[in-house]
């Protein structure tokens, strides 16, 4: 397996803002790293630069310490799974799986063995002689995954591989990916705009915005100690409350409190703020309250059996040590 290191990668497009500005990132051997951010943040660009589908304007991509700039995707020994699956429609599943091996001139017997091994691993053996158009979305993505696995590459790249699937299937394949990574211990670089996906899958998350790296850290740290307001707002649903400090009786400046860190109190207590309950959303496991305090809206989490009504006065108190300060 392999390490990937990006050194001061820049990607410029004429007549447009830089897609990537001086990105430096070390990805460890066997690590599952997610690249996360809104569309156009540079995450897919980064993936293409690692794959060799695109060349950086400046900077170096290293795989296992060796610079790979200028090498073709095949020479870099990386595999990629795409959002749209990108299966070859004229080949059956077996042909799709065997294609990268044929190109690498793997001997016939070895090829057959690896194709059936991979099909077995992903539970698609019964589909081997079908064409992609005869497969469901989940099956197609399994085949695409198989096409990447069959080569035993040094690095796996994923470009939003689950975004086209419906919610149930997405959760199922997410769990499968996680198991797969655990058993392969291969280096995974995973691009997604879905923060929940990044949180559940990754060893570390790299957050990008407008071509700039915002933070690289394990999921828990990203969530608990976001480097800035952008990162804080990107992770967590409902979104973190960002308000002026004095609203919560704190010194001036922007502060953030996650909804689950706002305690809903039944009576006035020191350190609590009072507001009017505007909206109650019951999700089953918990209740989200939208509270208007001095013209600002705060979202707080209450228990599933919360019994208040819209229009009532409620008191909120931020949990100790859970208030984040943004400059």
């Amino acid at each position: 397996m392999a390490t990937v290191s990006l050194e001061r990668l820049r990607k410029a497009h004429p007549g447009a803002p830089d897609a990537l500005r001086e990105l430096s990132l070390e990805i460890g051997d066997g690590e599952f790293l997610s690249l996360v951010g809104p569309s156009g943040c540079g995450k897919s660009t980064t993936l293409n630069l690692i794959a060799g589908l695109d060349e950086p304007t400046s900077g170096v991509v290293r795989i296992d310490g060796r610079p790979v700039n200028g090498l073709s995707p095949a020479e870099r020994d990386v595999a990629m799974v795409f959002q749209s699956y990108a299966l070859y429609p004229h080949k059956d599943v077996r042909g799709n799986l065997a294609f990268p091996l044929q190109l690498a001139r793997v001997p016939r017997a070895e090829m057959d063995r690896r194709v059936s091994e991979t099909a077995e691993l992903l539970g698609i053996t019964s589909l081997l002689s079908r064409k992609p158009r005869e497969l469901s979305g989940g099956q197609r993505q399994r085949v695409a995954l198989g096409r990447a696995l069959v080569r035993k590459p040094r690095v796996f790249l994923f470009d939003e591989p689950l975004s086209n699937l419906d919610a149930g299937l997405r959760a199922q394949l997410r769990a499968e990916l996680k198991r797969l990574h655990a058993s392969l211990r291969a280096t995974f670089v995973y691009v997604t705009h879905d923060q929940a996906e990044a949180m559940t899958l990754s060893d570390r998350i790299a957050v990008l915005d407008a071509g700039q790296l915002q933070q690289v850290a394990p999921p828990k740290e990203i969530y608990d100690r976001p480097a800035n307001r952008f990162v804080a707002e990107f992770f967590g649903t409902p979104r973190i409350n960002v308000v002026p400090g004095r609203l919560l009786g704190l010194p001036d400046g922007e502060v953030g409190v996650r909804p689950e860190h706002l305690e809903v109190l039944s009576e006035a207590q020191p350190g609590a703020v009072e507001g009017t309950l505007e909206l109650i959303e019951l999700t089953g496991a918990e209740t989200w309250l939208t509270v208007a305090v001095a013209g600002q809206r705060l979202v707080a989490r209450a228990g599933a059996d919360y019994a208040g009504r819209a229009g009532e006065r409620v008191r909120l108190r931020p949990a100790q040590g859970r208030v984040l300060r943004f400059g």
Binding site: P73, Y85, A86, H90
Partner: protein, 262 residues
């Protein structure tokens, strides 16, 4: 049922002339002005003889050669234009379009001189080359726009799987391009099959004439052999009809179904 009259009108408009021609070809020559013939005859076909058979063969050679040349060059160029970044890409497409707008008559003299200087005047290859220059822009545009429609991720997947750009073209894109290739082939074939001006100008040996030239030269000084002209024209239409029907089966939508999520 209400559509029937409209359908009949359209069919009459398109097939009427053809039917007329086919009828003329089996009408006895002496009875052409009569509303009904006393009998039908294949004499006009029999009268076409070996020279016309030779012309049909020449036309097939020229049209097939032009089609093969146009498709191989046009597909590769179309792929490059659609998928690869290279300097002068826009210029290539624009230039190709500009060339196809030249009126052929304006290029006859320079082409004649050019072909003579390279020794291709009065050869079938000397027809294939200029035909290809006129048909290539169309092929290029048609195939480039087809390749552009194929999902970008398919190309990126092929590259990551280890294809060179050329392998991606041959092993992934070409097998998916049958509909566009068939369409281009038919258009180029028909164009070459029907071309008269160049064939008339560049070919002087009677044995090397193509079908349109042969038909045009049927008329003698004193006679206008309508029956034979009609028979020859009917024969000339047949390969096109067969070709179109054959390829029509290949021109089916949905060849890319299943490649990507629609």
């Amino acid at each position: 049922m209400r559509r029937a009259p409209a359908v009949a009108a359209v069919l009459l408009f398109f097939l009427g002339p053809l039917a007329w021609q086919a009828l003329t070809s089996v009408w006895p020559e002496a009875e052409l002005t009569r509303p009904l013939p006393s009998r039908l005859t294949l004499a006009s076909y029999a009268g076409l003889g070996v020279p016309f058979a030779r012309a049909v063969l020449n036309s097939i050679l020229v049209a097939a050669g032009t089609t093969a040349l146009c498709l191989s060059v046009g597909a590769a160029a179309g792929f490059a234009v659609a998928r690869l970044e290279f300097p002068g890409r826009r210029f290539l497409l624009g230039g190709a379009l500009a060339i196809s707008m030249f009126p052929p008559i304006a290029t006859v003299s320079p082409l004649y001189l050019a072909l003579r200087s390279v020794g291709l005047r009065d050869t079938l290859a000397g027809l294939v080359l200029p035909y290809a220059t006129f048909a290539l822009p169309l092929t290029l545009w048609l195939l480039a726009s087809f390749f552009r429609q194929l999902p970008d991720e398919l190309y990126r997947a092929a590259r990551v799987d280890g294809c060179t750009p050329w392998q991606a073209f041959v092993r992934v894109f070409l097998p998916l391009s049958w509909p566009a290739l068939a369409t281009s082939a038919i258009l180029v074939f028909i164009f070459s099959w029907n071309e008269l001006l160049y064939a008339l100008t560049f070919i002087s040996t009677p044995a090397k004439r193509t079908v349109p030239v042969a038909i045009a030269l049927f008329a003698g000084e004193h006679v206008e052999p309508w029956g034979q002209i009609a028979a020859a024209s009917t024969v000339a239409v047949l390969p096109l009809a067969v070709l179109t029907l054959l390829f029509q089966r290949r021109i089916v939508a949905g060849l890319t179904a299943g490649a990507v999520k629609e």
